[in-house]
């Protein structure tokens, strides 16, 4: 794309400031999916035989599966043979230091506000940067290594720590879990891996930043986090993509394993390109995220701020297997213009005295359609299980929609399950009140929306909460006339 057309496009879509394209030499596998493509991806990554076998099993399972249709999102059929399943920036195969990262890619991440130089990372966040299909840089590895913490790209984990990957890969999201998860298992190209040893409290936020750059490609990354007994980790992922007229598929899988007394906090700020005002382009975001509270008194918290993507389909869930384990889900999902989101969670109570909390805040503006879908299952042995769910919807304008589908399945009579739901509209009276105190309309809307989302924002690490609040403002720009 020339600079001139890019500028025009940027002007037309100035709401989305991450829409630029990086000019970097790419290695892209021809479009289409077959066993050969799966083998090719595996070979490119120099994977061991067991990894290839796992991929092939997933691919064969995927062939027999059908795309789900139960969701409340609508899109034209995806042609899975028209997508390229692997794109990677051309460069030396193995990096020994951050200085070897392609300067164009480094510039891209800097433009996105993700500096890869360690000395610049004053906020103390270790970053793994994934550009299209591959991880290009992971920072602060040495410092983390001293504590026994492993934080690296998924490919590297397969090479360097095969025993850990083998033990946990697919243990939470099996390769046959669902259509998109099976596809991911067959063709995933990279992602992040984190391992926190017993009793270690990870001293900094671990963060992965995903960037889709190439055209006509899908991005399929896989993240695996294992927290051993008594450990703690807070992990954040962020994502952006260039603006393109055609839709791009993103099908990721995240698996979390928390052993006894371990805590994993997983926060997402999802800002994939949402498409333009008429609904052209944008990312199709079909993601499977699940955490296993394996040991007693373990805890997993999902916090997500979903502002991007043309379609969002994701249900970060918790399997509460260990007694007294805790699952939490805090979500803000915004749909503006023609965006559609079908998102929520599943809390599966298996152990005794398990507890889960769900707080979902859906914001719809323009023609946006926002669906909360959540399931709470209390197994027959889950004595004294407790769940509290709160689903609030906020409507801006009268052409958008909010939908709530809560599912409850309770097999133990000692369970206590509460569900609250509300739908409200930003009223003219509220906006006028703010304006009468001197606030401009946009600032008034931002303030009202931030107030609505406060319960979720306060779960985010401080600096990301500020970022999330700004992002929300940008996403809703122009939604009130």
């Amino acid at each position: 794309m020339t600079t001139a057309t890019r500028t025009i496009e940027e002007l037309a879509n100035r709401e989305y400031k991450y829409g630029f394209v990086t000019d970097v030499e790419q290695e892209i596998v021809p479009i289409g999916l077959s066993e050969d493509v799966v083998r090719l991806i595996s070979a490119k990554k120099e994977e061991p035989e067991w990894m290839l076998e796992w991929r092939l099993k997933a691919y064969r399972a995927w062939l027999r599966m059908t795309e789900p249709t139960w969701h409340n999102v609508h899109y034209p059929p995806i042609d899975y043979q028209a997508i390229s399943y692997y794109a990677a920036p051309k460069q030396r195969p193995k990096l020994n230091s951050l200085d070897e990262v392609d300067p164009e890619i480094r510039a891209t991440f800097e433009k996105l506000g993700i500096p890869l130089e360690e000395q610049k990372l004053l906020s103390g966040v270790a970053v793994d940067a994934v550009f299209d299909s591959v991880s290009v840089a992971t920072t602060f590895r040495k410092k983390l290594g001293e504590l026994g913490i492993i934080f690296c790209s998924f490919s590297e984990a397969v090479r360097e720590h095969p025993e850990l990957v083998k033990a946990h890969l697919g243990s939470v999201v099996p390769h046959t879990d669902n259509f998109f998860a099976a596809l991911n298992a067959a063709v995933f190209s990279d992602g992040s891996f984190a391992y926190i040893p017993k009793g270690v409290r990870c001293p900094m936020e671990l963060s992965t930043y995903f960037r889709i750059n190439a055209q006509n490609t899908g991005q399929f990354e896989r993240t695996l986090i294992v927290a051993e007994e008594g450990s703690y980790v807070s992990y954040l992922e962020g994502c952006t993509a260039p603006m393109r007229d055609e839709n791009q598929l993103h099908a990721a899988v995240v698996e979390l394993v928390a052993q006894a007394n371990a805590t994993i906090k997983y926060s997402t700020i999802q800002n994939w390109y949402p498409g333009d005002k008429e609904g052209r382009g944008g990312i199709y975001n079909f993601v499977t995220k699940r955490g296993l509270c394996k040991g007693a008194a373990s805890k997993i918290t999902w916090t997500q701020v979903e502002t991007g993507s043309a379609i969002t389909w994701k249900y970060p869930s918790c399997i509460l297997q260990g007694d007294r384990s805790i699952g939490e889900f805090y979500s803000v999902a915004v749909t503006n213009n023609r965006q559609q989101a079908d998102t929520g969670t599943k809390m599966i109570h298996i152990g005794k005295d398990t507890k889960s909390t769900i707080v979902s805040k859906g914001i719809s503006a323009g023609f946006g359609q926002n669906t909360y879908r959540g399931a709470v299952k209390i197994g027959k042995n889950a004595k004294n299980a407790r769940n509290y769910s709160q689903c609030d919807s906020l409507l801006i304008g009268d052409k958008c929609g909010a939908h709530t589908f809560p599912y409850l399945e309770i097999k133990n009579t000692s369970a206590r399950v509460e569900h609250e739901a509300s739908t409200s509209k930003i009223g003219d009276e509220q906006i006028f009140y703010c304006r009468q105190r001197g606030l401009a309309t946009e600032d008034a809307v931002n303030m009202i929306v931030s107030g609505f989302c406060r319960q979720v924002f306060r779960e985010l690490p401080m600096e990301f909460a500020v970022e999330a609040q700004k992002l929300l403002g940008v996403s809703l720009e122009g939604s009130v006339g």
């Binding site: 703010c434 304006r435 105190r437 001197g438 606030l439 600032d443 107030g451 609505f452």
Partner: protein
Amino acid sequence: MLEVRNLKVRAEGKDILRGVNLTVKAGEVHAIMGPNGSGKSTFARALAGHPQYEVVGGEARYLGRDLLDMDPDERAREGVFMAFQYPVEIAGVSNAYFLKAALNAKRKHDGLGELDAMEFMTLVRDKAKLFDLDASMLGRAVNEGFSGGEKKRNEIFQLAVLEPKLAILDETDSGLDIDALRVVANGVNAMRSTDRAFIVVTHYQRLLNYIIPDFVHVLNDGVIVRSGGKELALELEEKGYGWLEAAGASA
């Protein structure tokens, strides 16, 4: 400070104000009284720029500028403040945060530096003391779960922090018991000064026992039918609004 000439306002397809004239000078307190449906609140809201009220004729000049040409938020930043009859709730936004944003929007407009959190809290704590307000209220969400009296006190507190040039009180006394009324009136009286004007819209004379107006205007059926000094309010108290009907019929 404020010159209103022949102001005509429509709301929901009905003519509410049918030619209001009013001159307010700095330092003055004007009371606007009148029966229900006379257009008192419409007058207050139209001056503040409420979008549901359509100005169909006349003019209003504020400090030499065309008030009606300004957006509601610009009017506010220029120093026009309205205490709401029904203050609005904003869930999840603390009073302190809201007030800080409002004050800084105004300070920025006035070319002053924005206050940081520390400076702001010092300022509002002092004001809260002055107005006998429980400072813990600052941490609560804007008007959420406030009693009627608390809401009105909060409005006057905002007035005290924002220090407007022209303050309009829209039936601030409605729904207040006598103690709350006194607190609110004390707040307003403390804010009276030679460079600040008040327009006090009220149905009852009661409030004017505490806030002594310089002028009283009686609004009926969209026009001011009588103006006078504070004694006019007492006359109304005695006679009620019934005589207006007769006066209107004979006019």
